[in-house]
């Protein structure tokens, strides 16, 4: 990842400020005097010091969370940064402090089923918006974009009434069912991916007499697997991290409580300062997210860039 400024710095203009800095290649190959070495080292430090400082700032809260999770109750939340003694008991204690196991299962159900629902319902809509010709298609796409802007607060009061009339409040249904009816953000992303496919394959398939459903399932979907993975992962993570909807619709019922909500009840149920339990629970809550990120890092960074740069 070579930056414009990095490249510019190798040009003659820079030499005025850092006279000894040669082309980057010279660092590896050419013999260099001590002065050159020293000043190249200084420049390296100058570039890396702010990055290193920022990295420390970004890592520190996670480190504090990690070490606190292994501390005893007496030590957690004090100024000390290192557990003395180490204890692994907090991770087990979380399961008795709150219904962690049940909440974990609920969260898995919510995240997996809503990812499935989002994919099943959004793929055909995105396909129709990207690859079919029909009157009003452009306007329909603008409607999809517009629905992304509706604040949750504007729909949640009537939806709460609706769900409680249906007897759904307290169960996972209010969280999962809506995802089977298309998600605007996912439709938008999938449409962008579908548009990148060459038109010729669609023409060929249509000439051969394939129907639209056939084209979608046996031609398009195998080609856009990375896009499906990205959209599915985003939907999974949204549900995993979601706090507002579970708080409203499954709130205090143990049957439907998800981890995001359950974690916030530790302070209340533990009856005393429970930083070590909060951190142990947070780490277990966070771990799957980090594992997914580690496995699919490119998907995320490209996905974020794509959605942001679209602007």
């Amino acid at each position: 990842m070579s930056a414009p400024t990095g490249i510019a710095a190798r040009l003659p203009g820079t030499r005025r400020r850092t006279p000894a800095t040669g082309p980057a290649g010279a660092a590896a190959g050419g013999p260099a005097g001590d002065g050159r070495e020293a000043s190249r080292f200084l420049e390296l430090v100058g570039r890396h010091a702010p990055a290193l400082a920022l990295a420390l700032v970004f890592v520190l809260p996670l480190l504090v969370a990690l070490t606190t999770a292994f501390m005893t109750q007496n030590q957690a939340g004090t100024g000390s940064l290192w557990p003395r003694p180490w204890t692994g008991g907090n991770f087990g204690a979380v399961f008795s402090a709150i219904p962690f196991g049940r909440a974990l299962w609920n969260t898995v159900l919510y995240a997996v089923l809503s990812a499935v629902g989002v994919l099943l319902s959004s793929v055909p809509v995105a396909y129709a918006l990207a690859r079919m010709r029909w009157r009003g298609r452009r306007a329909a796409f603008l409607v999809v974009l517009a629905t992304m802007m509706i604040p949750a607060q504007v729909t949640s009061l009537p939806l709460y009434v609706l769900y409680s009339d249906l007897g759904w409040v307290g169960s996972l249904k209010p969280l999962i069912v809506p995802s089977f009816f298309g998600d605007a953000f996912s439709i938008f992303l999938l449409r962008q991916f579908f548009l990148t496919l060459p038109e010729s394959i669609f023409e060929a398939a249509r000439v051969d007499g394939a129907g639209e459903l056939r084209i979608l399932t046996s031609l398009v979907l195998p080609m856009v697997r990375p896009a499906l993975a990205a959209v599915g992962l985003f939907a999974f993570l949204f549900a995993w991290n979601d706090f507002y909807n579970p708080l409203l619709y499954t709130g205090n019922s143990t049957d439907g409580q998800t981890l995001a909500v359950a974690l916030t009840t530790i302070a209340r149920t533990a009856h005393e300062s429970a930083y070590q339990l909060q951190m142990a629970a947070s780490l277990m809550f966070l771990a799957p997210v980090l594992v997914i990120f580690a496995l699919a890092q490119r998907v995320f960074i490209e996905g974020v860039t794509m959605t942001g740069v679209k602007g």
Partner: protein, 338 residues
């Protein structure tokens, strides 16, 4: 707004725009099938249409209707239409409303610019690296992946009055504040947390910085422009679209700011957590949506909360329009370059 747009679905003629939209080739118009049959299109888009009606248009309409009634969900009292009474109550007789408005505006005015500036700085630091940029980028990005609840709890631990940060400050001879337990410092603590989680914006900014025309920067450098002036006159203008987009989404997000404050208020004060602690300490974290949640889902004053929701919607809508008016279009490109 979706209502207005939905009307045009049927009315808008499908001419050139639709063709341009589909592919960059004009070939398609000549050779491709004229139109997909309506039943097929209807079948494919039906999930979204049903979802829009059930989970979008119906609730929005109902919220507007509720806002003119004394409806209390869960109560069997007959519902009366009360006209503008809820709106009048909101702005005149409610003290918590104006507290929440002030807190929310404070957050929009402080958090959004600071977050943008900090993300810009971090992105600039990234682009200056020749080696290791990918590793740093990952480190910067990871916090933005952390679930808000987990990061809020971590910050409560880290910033608790006797905690690690105040310990470090103490060693420097600084008497650290009470952070989440101090009304003056609670909002700044949330700002710190938001800065920590700005990695997604950093990635967007640094990708955009790599697109800044190199020859422009080089030419400016040859002309003797320093790093600061090159940044101000070349890099920054080139970043305008992503800056505007991230500022707009930041403003919209901050108007709806909820989870961070809910968790901070509920978990920073130990025993007295949950709905009783909304806004703790001393209403300093009582944001617009916090008050809306309390009115609608704790007191079940559905009509009253609906009026607050309608106002929020209008404010966000107006803010978006003004923003687009002043700064030009920043919405995602509907022509769909991929």
């Amino acid at each position: 707004m979706s209502t207005g747009a939905a009307v045009t679905v049927a009315g808008r003629p499908a001419g050139g725009p639709a063709g341009r939209l589909a592919g960059r080739s004009a070939r398609r118009r000549r050779r491709g099938p004229a139109h997909t049959p309506w039943p097929v299109v209807a079948l494919f888009v039906s999930p979204f249409v049903v979802g829009l009606l059930l989970f979008g248009l119906y609730p929005i309409g109902a919220t507007v209707y509720y806002s003119f009634t004394d409806f209390r969900s869960g109560s069997y009292r007959p519902v009366h239409v009360v006209g503008w009474a809820n709106y009048v109550d909101l702005v005149t007789s409610s003290d918590s409303f104006w507290v929440s408005v002030r807190n929310t505006l404070w957050m929009v005015a402080v958090l959004v610019p600071l977050r943008t500036a900090f993300a810009l700085f971090a992105a600039w630091v990234l682009t200056r690296l020749r080696r290791g940029a990918a590793i740093y980028r990952t480190i910067f990005f990871v916090p933005s992946m952390v679930p808000v609840v987990a990061s809020a709890l971590s910050f409560i631990v880290m910033l608790n009055p006797a905690g690690p940060v105040n310990g470090l400050l103490g060693r420097l001879g600084i008497d650290g504040p009470g952070w989440f337990t101090d009304p003056t410092w609670a909002k700044p603590s949330l700002v710190l947390m938001a800065l920590w989680a700005c990695g997604d914006t950093v990635v967007i900014f640094s990708a955009a910085m790599l697109d800044v025309p190199r020859d422009l920067l080089e030419a400016a450098q040859l002309d003797g422009a320093g790093a600061g002036r090159r940044f101000w006159h070349i890099t920054l203008p080139a970043l305008r679209p992503v800056l505007l987009f991230s500022t707009l989404t930041g403003v919209i997000y901050t108007f709806q700011y909820f989870t961070e404050a809910f968790v901070a208020s509920g978990s920073a004060n130990g025993l007295n957590s949950g709905n009783q602690s909304l806004g703790y300490p001393q209403q300093s974290l009582l944001f617009y949506t916090t008050d809306l949640y309390r009115q609608g889902f704790v007191y079940f004053k559905t009509g009253y909360a609906s009026a607050a929701a309608v106002l929020l919607f209008l404010v966000i809508f107006a803010a978006t329009l003004v923003f687009l008016r002043v700064f030009g279009a920043v919405a995602p490109d509907p022509e769909g370059r991929a």
